[in-house]
Amino acid sequence: MAERATPQAQAAYDRIHASDEFKQLKKTYMGFVVPMTVGFMVWYLLYVLCSNYAPGLMNTQVFGNVNIALLWGLLQFITTFGIAFWYARFSAKNMDPIADALNEAYEKEANA
């Protein structure tokens, strides 16, 4: 294993793990990433499946030589950029302050 934490550090980890703040942090994190991961995986797989099995839909011309397949592909780029940006905003606002406070508390307790 990675080197064992000192008894103080271990006690600090245990206390933080049981604290409401940590439970809140974990809930906030999971509440964002789990639905988001399921969402973008479904969105991507749907696109892959349609590319294979729904040529009529994908080959529909929208304007000029641009069809739905190309637009949907570009939309995958836009959603990827969007989710990344959204996560950065969300985590900075809702997770970082709690994580910082807990980290600070740990430093105090573990090195006391």
């Binding site: 294993m1 990675a2 080197e3 934490a5 550090a9 271990q10 600090a12 980890y13 245990d14 933080i16 793990h17 940590f22 942090l25 974990k26 994190y29 964002f32 990433v33 988001m36 991961t37 973008f40 995986m41 991507y44 797989l45 696109y47 892959v48 499946l49 590319s51 294979n52 099995y53 040529p55 994908m58 080959n59 304007f63 000029g64 030589n65 641009v66 069809n67 397949a69 190309l70 592909g73 570009l74 995958q76 780029f77 990827t80 950029f81 989710i83 990344a84 940006f85 996560y87 950065a88 985590s91 970082d96 709690i98 994580a99 807990l102 980290n103 740990y106 430093e107 573990a110």
Partner: protein
């Protein structure tokens, strides 16, 4: 008549010599620049943290560029634009999978890994498990994935450089592979993670600069009207509107459709399990910087793949005649360089020669940066996991570890050279796809279970890693890639083994759709069939550490 023909031939030969001299000069500049950086970076490499993780001193932006430099391989730059040039829309499907994959890395892996690991992927997996078997397994899969990926890059380098320098002999290809191998060993042995990271940053800047330049020139030819570009590409391809629609490459049969889904899943889940990508998260000081680096990486990689769309369709639209045949003969790999020549004024012009040489040098820098990252990752794993933890039971000094890592870089580089020379008939795209499939089947299940499942234990790690590894590689051995695909219209053997041997029974070329779920299932079954209880204290510690950074490596 005959004199004028001879005159034309002579003029072409001399201009092609000019561009080869220019290309060779630019290659040399790339080498000198990267060698200089490596020496400069090596001055501050003293501790193990310096060697393995660049002293954790890189900023999020720097590491974002380095991730881009590490990730955008020759398979991306030459392969994807080539696939688009030849197969139209279906080539674009690759880049989407390669990009969306970064959300897995951003949301589930990067920050947690930065907080809970140290130098290698195994550090994370071994956190709350039995050290010896887990580190051995993780090192095995790290080395297997890296060697497949290394082979792909080096085989590509041999083909590319000899084509671009106009030397077609087998000796020249072999010499190129040896030279690339020696350079990559040099970067890793001398520069460690700092040198390697800077080589990747410089490469990312060169790659983006070159790609933007060519894309703007292509778009300018169409008055910045993308629809016109697409129309011209479809017309020149000889395939009409089918060129802009899915299905040209993968739509033929039920098997090829399932094969495509399998590839798509491996691409999107493989990235977050690639060892050389995972170690990049250790080069920054905090989890927040790790998040920042992935955001930058997504921006850079996404923009780059959007531009490959223009390069690919541009090559289909603008490259004609002999040059078009050369793209087809190279399996698409020469699409970007020859497009550069075309937008620079065409073959035989100074502008064409300059741009061709420039893009070739960028492609060369690309290969160097990626192989350095791969070699460093496998050498680190040998030194840190196998030597220091398994063999010396954690009693090795930091200086010893660095020494062993340097020796390992020599050995791994040597093995890669020795395998790449006979491996030149291998298909580069297939090797990259296989590396992604192995990473997604063997590494990702173990990583995710370890981060999120309290009950997960040593046997679970071993079953998922070895199970994912054996099933993904095994299925490929019994796939049409290796045997039984038959010959094409020209009588060329489509499989690796001679046509007289047929051991194939697995119909797909991409194993992911079977091996990835199997990796997860085996991780689950291995865990619940073992009596070993994972230490709950250690899991609580891992959870707190990964989410808050408390006690993480400084």
């Amino acid at each position: 008549m005959s004199t004028s023909l001879a005159g034309i031939t002579f003029a072409q030969a001399s201009s092609s010599n000019d561009h080869q001299a220019l290309t060779a000069t630019l290659f040399l500049l790339v080498v000198l620049l990267t060698v200089g950086i490596t020496f400069w970076a090596s001055r501050n490499t003293k501790t193990a943290a310096d060697y393995y993780a660049g002293g954790r001193s890189f900023s999020g932006v720097q590491n974002g560029f380095a991730i881009g430099g590490d990730y955008m391989s020759a398979a991306s730059f030459l392969g994807i634009s080539g696939a688009i040039a030849l197969s139209g829309y279906d080539g674009f499907l690759y880049s989407i999978g390669f990009l969306v994959a970064w959300l897995v890395a951003l949301l589930l892996v990067a920050e947690l890994l930065r907080n809970s690991g140290r130098y290698t992927m195994a550090d994370q997996l071994a956190y709350r498990m039995r050290q010896t078997p887990v580190r051995t397994a993780a090192a095995t899969s790290t080395i297997v994935v890296s060697i497949f990926y290394l082979l792909a890059q080096m085989v590509g380098a041999g083909a590319l450089v000899s084509l671009l320098l106009g030397v077609d002999s087998q000796t020249a290809k072999n010499l190129t592979i040896v030279a690339v191998g020696i350079l990559m060993i040099f970067y890793v042995v001398i520069g460690g993670m700092k040198g390697t990271t800077w080589v990747q940053i410089v490469k990312a800047v060169l790659l983006m600069g070159g790609t933007i330049l060519i894309s703007v020139l292509v778009l300018a030819k169409f008055g910045f009207n993308v629809s016109d570009l697409l129309g011209q590409a479809a017309q020149n391809s000889g395939k009409g509107s089918a060129f802009l629609e899915p299905g040209l490459k993968y739509g033929a049969t039920t098997t090829s459709k399932i094969d495509f889904i399998s590839l798509g899943i491996a691409l999107v889940l493989g990235t977050a399990g690639l060892p050389h990508i995972l170690v990049r998260f250790y080069t920054v000081p905090t989890a927040r910087q790790a998040r920042q680096s992935v955001l930058w990486a997504i921006g850079i990689i996404g923009s780059f793949y959007l531009l490959t769309l223009i390069l690919g369709f541009g090559a289909a639209a603008l490259v004609t005649g002999d040059a078009k045949q050369r793209i087809i003969d190279s399996g698409g790999n020469l699409a970007s360089p020859l497009l550069a020549e075309a937008v620079g004024g065409g073959p035989g012009t100074t502008g064409g020669a300059i741009l061709l040489a420039l893009i070739s040098a960028v492609a060369f820098a690309t290969i160097l940066a990626v192989v350095a990252g791969l070699t460093l990752t496998s050498a680190s794993s040998v030194a840190h996991d196998l030597y220091a933890s398994v063999w010396k039971k954690g009693e090795a000094s930091g200086a010893d570890e660095i020494k062993v890592a340097r020796i390992s870089a020599f050995v791994i580089g040597g093995i890669a050279i020795a395998l790449a020379i006979p491996g030149q008939s291998l298909n580069v795209a297939f090797l990259v796809a296989l590396a992604f499939a192995v990473a997604a089947s063997a590494n990702l299940p173990a990583l995710l279970f370890n981060l999120f499942w309290k009950r997960f234990n040593t046997r679970g790690v071993l079953w998922s890693i070895y199970g994912g590894l054996i099933s993904s590689v095994g299925l490929v051995i019994f796939s049409p890639i290796v045997s039984g695909k038959g010959v094409d219209a020209t009588g060329k053997n489509l499989s690796l083994l001679p046509t007289s041997v047929d051991i194939s029974w697995f119909p797909l070329e991409n194993p992911g759709i079977v091996s990835i779920p199997l990796g997860f299932l085996l991780g689950y079954l291995g865990t619940i069939t073992s009596k070993e209880r994972s230490s709950e204290d250690r899991f609580a510690e891992l959870e707190v550490r990964s989410l808050t950074g408390a006690g993480s490596e400084k």
